[in-house]
């Protein structure tokens, strides 16, 4: 463990810049975006310095800590505002600040026509600060602050164009769904505190050794709920599609590459809880498997390019969650997929943004077609991302996703076959819907709106896309060559090679199977979308309808939670008014009436006053007599 003095800058810089831009207001309009981008870049620079410093240290000295101040000291609860940068958090710090900076650059051009560009950048910087706090906090409570911070940033950015009521509603929906998850996190923190008397990661890890299975399962379930909320996992996934109301750079950064992966971070960080509770692990893999299929199926029916990508994000995070539930072997692959996904998904979102930018903000893929001819760079970068997400070797996704499928099969028994099968099926569906996106957008015939004059985006936009595309191509190979990431994370996730399960199938067989199903998916999509009608056909199967409607998740939520909830609140209001208020009004009426009654005693006649006094004296005498009895 090393003590560092630089960690605080990672958070302080963007936080300060965000506050500055918000406080200065319109004065900063001219240079705010440049300033925010430079700040983000400097955070990346600090992160790189820390990374190389960490690499230079060995073994146990690698994690660095910094205590900023004593935060809470009440009774037996002591929490310091301390930061911890270890092998796990540095992955995130680099991803957040790196991709964050690229997206800052991209946004300069993308948001150039927006009146409130400065405010947008202030929110982006705030997000960076909150997200870094989330991954740098050394305790669950510090993490919680960042967790809420990113929730706020997400809310503000989804509703950035809140002049459109639908967008404001989307922001609210995301916020509410996230709150449900946040309850899980606070529950987990509280249970951890009552069980272990501490909320630091180190303290909880130590306490988890001797803890009861029930407590660990409860904490694990609560953490999983939190992860499901933040990472749009089943059953709290419904907000992510609507969150696409935010500006596309936001979708790329927050709702694809970083914030939505916070759940994966949370579970990986809490590996000591899940490794000790098979029940919690089972819940995790179930949620992951369900979501990866759920998202993939939804993705097949979406005509809105961003929503299709959002469904894909949901599905890919499902893979990661699935991996984290597979025990020590899975964590590293989850993180690897998270990093590669950060590159290719952010790249594809930026590509989608680039297309929209050239198509008058049209998002309906049925109005695209043949865009590769007018936007070659966008098409190329998007295409590389596409190959990566499919898992075609040697692109990034191949290294990460195949490993997850393989590990799922290795889980053993029926569970292994089920999970591995789900992951494999997911890969096929992924191939189908991603191919659909490509076919509808970049190939085929023009189906543009008359006013659309698509053109390649400026360099500020395509340069970040190119960098991310490079990542989509190489990151998988780099991270997995020689087990680089697995070894790097080994001290955190306790992976040792002895506990490797029996291999269910040789890796090569799994890869081949994956490639075969991917090829089937691609072929199906290409065949089905030879021609594309301008309007989505309505005479479709119930399955298509269900997929178009997000598998009725919204209807379910509305019927099961929203309407009964509304009834409950209106019932409570009525009870409050009739019973509680009624009681109070009755008391008020009694007092008022008795007041009027005693008023008549005050007649104004001195003789009656004297009489009252005499009666009073008599009463006193009687009372004196009574007490002597």
């Amino acid at each position: 463990m090393t003590t560092s003095t630089n960690l605080v800058y990672l958070i302080a810089l963007p936080l300060f810049s965000s506050a500055l831009l918000l406080l200065l207001g319109r004065i900063a309009d001219k240079w705010g975006h440049i300033f925010a981008t430079l700040i983000s870049a400097s955070v990346f620079a600090v992160a790189l310095i820390e990374f190389f410093a960490m690499q230079g240290r060995d073994g146990l000295a690698r994690p660095a800590t910094q205590k900023i101040f004593e935060w809470i000291s009440v009774g037996s609860l002591h929490v310091d505002a301390s930061l911890l940068l270890d092998q796990l958090s540095i992955c995130f710090v680099l991803l957040i600040s790196g991709v964050g900076t690229l997206i800052h650059v991209y946004s300069i051009a993308y948001m150039s026509h927006d009146h409130d560009r400065r405010r947008f950048f202030a929110y982006l910087n705030f997000f960076i600060a909150a997200m870094l706090l989330l991954v740098l906090g050394d305790s669950y409570l510090n993490l919680y602050v960042g967790w809420e911070g990113v929730g706020l940033a997400s809310y503000l950015l989804i509703g950035f164009w809140n002049q459109k009521p639908a967008y404001a509603t989307a922001a609210k929906k995301a916020f509410v769904a996230n709150r449900v998850g946040d309850v899980g996190l606070s529950l987990a923190i509280m249970i951890a505190f009552t069980q272990f008397g501490t909320v630091t990661f180190a303290g909880v890890k130590e306490g988890a050794h001797g803890a009861s299975a029930a407590a660990l399962t409860a904490i694990g379930a609560a953490l999983l709920l939190a992860a499901a909320g933040k990472s749009a996992q089943f059953p709290l996934q419904s907000w992510l599609g609507d969150a696409m109301a935010g500006p596309t750079p936001v979708s790329a950064l927050i709702h694809a590459a970083t914030m939505v992966t916070a759940g994966v971070y949370l579970i990986t960080r809490s590996n000591f809880i899940f490794d000790a509770s098979p029940t919690a692990q089972l819940m995790v893999v179930s949620v992951g498997a369900i979501t990866l299929l759920f998202g993939a199926v939804i993705g097949t029916a979406k005509d809105d390019i961003k929503k299709a990508l959002a469904a894909s994000t949901m599905s890919q995070i499902g893979y990661m969650i699935l991996a984290t539930g597979l025990g020590p072997v899975g964590y590293a692959f989850a993180i690897m997929h998270l990093l590669t996904h950060g590159f290719f998904k952010a790249g594809m979102f930026l590509g989608a943004g680039s297309v929209m930018h050239g198509m008058n903000d049209e998002v309906n893929m049925r109005r695209y077609g043949a865009i590769r001819k007018v936007m070659p760079i966008t098409a190329a970068t998007f295409g590389l991302g596409y190959l990566a997400i499919l898992g075609v070797p040697p692109f990034a996704g191949f290294y990460s996703k195949d490993k997850i499928i393989e590990t799922a099969f290795n889980a053993g028994g029926a569970k292994g076959i089920l999970l591995g099968g789900a992951a494999l099926l997911g890969a096929a569906v992924t191939a189908f819907y991603m191919t659909r996106v490509i076919v509808l957008t970049f190939t085929g015939t023009k189906r543009w709106d008359e006013n659309a004059k698509p053109h390649e985006s400026p360099i500020l936009m395509w340069a970040p896309m190119a960098v991310l595309a490079l990542g989509s191509v190489t990151s998988g190979f780099l991270l997995s060559s020689g087990g680089a990431l697995v070894n790097w994370l080994q001290p955190i996730v306790n992976e040792n090679h002895e506990n490797h399960a029996e291999e269910f199938l040789p890796p090569l067989v799994v890869s081949l199977m994956a490639l075969v199903v991917i090829a089937i998916g691609v072929a199906l999509a290409v065949f089905k979308y030879r021609t594309v009608p301008l309007v989505a056909p309505t005479n479709v199967s119930v399955f298509t309808k269900a997929a178009r409607n997000d598998l009725y998740q919204d209807s379910f939520n509305e019927a099961v939670f929203m309407r009964p909830g509304q009834k409950l609140t209106s019932g409570l209001v009525k009870t409050d008014y009739k019973v509680i208020d009624g009681l109070l009004r009755m008391i008020g009426w009694i007092i008022q009436t008795s007041s009027t009654a005693v008023r008549s005693i005050q007649s104004g006649f001195v003789r009656s006053y004297a009489l009252i006094m005499v009666l009073g004296v008599l009463a006193l005498v009687v009372m004196v007599w009574l007490v002597t009895l």
Partner: protein
């Protein structure tokens, strides 16, 4: 052989200075020409009070139970209460200085030719200053007197000038004179009970002093009927002065009829003096017999708190509302009396300052709200005053909030101290009733604030006169203390705790 009694003049000096100032005032009234009188009287009165306070401050740490043989015991509680009464008198005289409230010739019959002539001549009443000082001297003696003769003399010395002063109002003369007469009649009536009770206690113990009474109770052997009836009758006299139910009937009428500055002075200072004496009689003289009177006083405290709070709700006249509010506050203070512990005494000392100054301030504000015919005390005509005179309305609200016991005002701290003392002594039911009564009382205090700020002015609404300088000073001082004691109660509370002791 008769030896002259040994008197400790240093300790008695504050009372004597006030008495001397009052006599000087009488001489001024007789010999100085009218044009100079008002100013001179005011100056003399204020100077007398300041000098008396200065002397009191000098002897603050020299207690003695033998200040005047066995009749007066100057001790911590006595000194604190005397200081309180002097401060209240000082602020009260600042209000009284506005001569507009007083009849030019109180002896003239209402509506008579003499009165019209007196009004026309522009004369002003200045006997009120020496009268006030006489009352103050009685008030200062009352809480330090330790035998029943001295207690009775003090009671009368404080009461008689007040009866007169209640009838001095310039406007609504009949109401004022009626109030004075009622006050006098009922006061005399209750004094008779007090005296009768004292006689019975003498019959029981063979001693007039409180110490002798205690010894007799400890010794036993006396006739318990005398003791018990004596306690009951003495209580009547005391409960009448503090305005506890069922001896409260005079309060609303007198508060309403008396000139408003006098009402303020009377409400604030009499309460401090009477509760001081009550405390001393019960703590020093009757502590040994607490089994007999504690339940009774507790019942009276409960009834008084609830009655005051409930009866105030249906009142429409601000002075009557404040009268019923003062009845409720008497109930709170009785709670402190039955606590029978040092924190109860400390709470009572603190409360008498906090409540006294807020009362003076509130009545001071009432003097300012007028129409062409003088003060308007009908609160329905105060509607929307907050928009016309925000500062005055805000000040009034401050005092009302203090009465209601809202935090950050002195009233909250006072109530809190009293309730915690009662809780400490185990009288939890008194705390419960006290809190309930406070909750009821909040209703009518807040209603006034609502009327001031959240209602539109009606056609026949009133205006606020520009306050005379001294009235302004009085209200300002009261407001400052009300806030200061709410924010930093320990300034006074520590002092009250140090002074909360009796010397037998």
């Amino acid at each position: 052989m008769l030896t002259s009694p040994k008197l400790d003049y240093a300790l008695l000096a504050p009372i004597l200075i006030i008495l001397a100032t009052a006599i000087l005032g009488v001489l001024v009234e007789a010999f100085i020409k009218q044009a100079l009188r008002a100013r001179l009287q005011l100056t003399i009165s204020l100077a007398g009070i300041v000098i008396a306070f200065e002397q009191l401050y000098r002897v603050r740490n020299q207690g003695s139970s033998m200040a005047a043989i066995t009749s007066v015991s100057i001790d911590g509680a006595g000194i604190f209460l005397q200081g309180t009464i002097l401060v209240l008198a000082f602020v009260g005289i600042l209000l009284i200085a506005d001569q507009d409230h007083f009849a030019p010739q109180a002896s003239a019959l209402p509506g008579s030719i003499e009165e019209a002539a007196a009004l026309e001549s522009g004369r002003a009443q200045t006997e009120v200053f020496p009268l006030t000082l006489f009352a103050v001297s009685g008030m200062m003696l009352f809480p330090v007197a330790t035998d029943f003769i001295t207690l009775f003399v003090a009671l009368e010395v404080l009461s008689l000038p007040l009866y007169l002063m209640a009838g001095l109002s310039r406007r609504r003369r009949l109401l004022s004179q009626e109030a004075a007469l009622k006050y006098f009649l009922l006061g005399a009536y209750s004094s008779a009970f007090f005296l009768f009770g004292a006689a019975l206690l003498y019959g029981y113990s063979g001693s007039l002093s409180l110490n002798g009474l205690t010894d007799a109770i400890h010794g036993g052997g006396g006739n318990d009927v005398f003791l018990l009836l004596g306690i009951a009758f003495v209580s009547v006299g005391l409960l009448f002065k503090v305005g506890a139910v069922p001896f409260h009937s005079w309060t609303p009428d007198v508060y309403q009829g008396a000139p408003t500055p006098i009402t303020g002075f009377m409400a604030a200072a009499t309460k401090a003096a009477a509760f001081g004496a009550t405390m001393r009689i019960f703590y020093v003289g009757l502590d040994a017999a607490q089994w007999s009177w504690k339940p009774i006083i507790s019942v009276i405290a409960v009834v008084t708190m609830l009655f005051g709070a409930i009866a105030a709700i249906s009142q429409r006249d601000i002075k009557r509302i404040l009268a019923f509010s003062s009845i409720a506050h008497a109930g709170f203070l009785l709670t402190a009396v039955v606590s029978l512990n040092q924190s109860g005494l400390a709470a009572l000392l603190f409360y008498s300052v906090a409540y006294g100054l807020a009362t003076l301030g509130a009545f001071g504000v009432v003097t300012l709200i007028r129409d062409s015919a003088g003060e308007v005390s009908d609160i329905n005509r105060w509607l929307g005053l907050g928009k016309k005179s925000p500062l005055i309305a805000a000040t009034m609200s401050l005092f009302l909030l203090s009465f209601a016991g809202i935090p950050l005002t002195s009233g909250f701290v006072g109530k809190f101290a009293i309730f915690s003392a009662a809780y400490e002594s185990g009288n939890i039911y008194l705390v419960v009733v006290g809190v309930l009564a406070s909750a009821i009382a909040v209703f009518f205090y807040l209603r006034i604030i609502l009327m001031l700020f959240f209602a539109d002015a009606s056609n026949d609404s009133v205006s606020v006169v520009i306050p005379p300088l001294l009235t302004r000073v009085a209200i300002f001082l009261s407001a400052i203390v009300t806030i200061l004691l709410g924010l930093a109660p320990s300034i006074l509370f520590d002092v009250a705790q140090n002074f909360a002791y009796f010397i037998r």
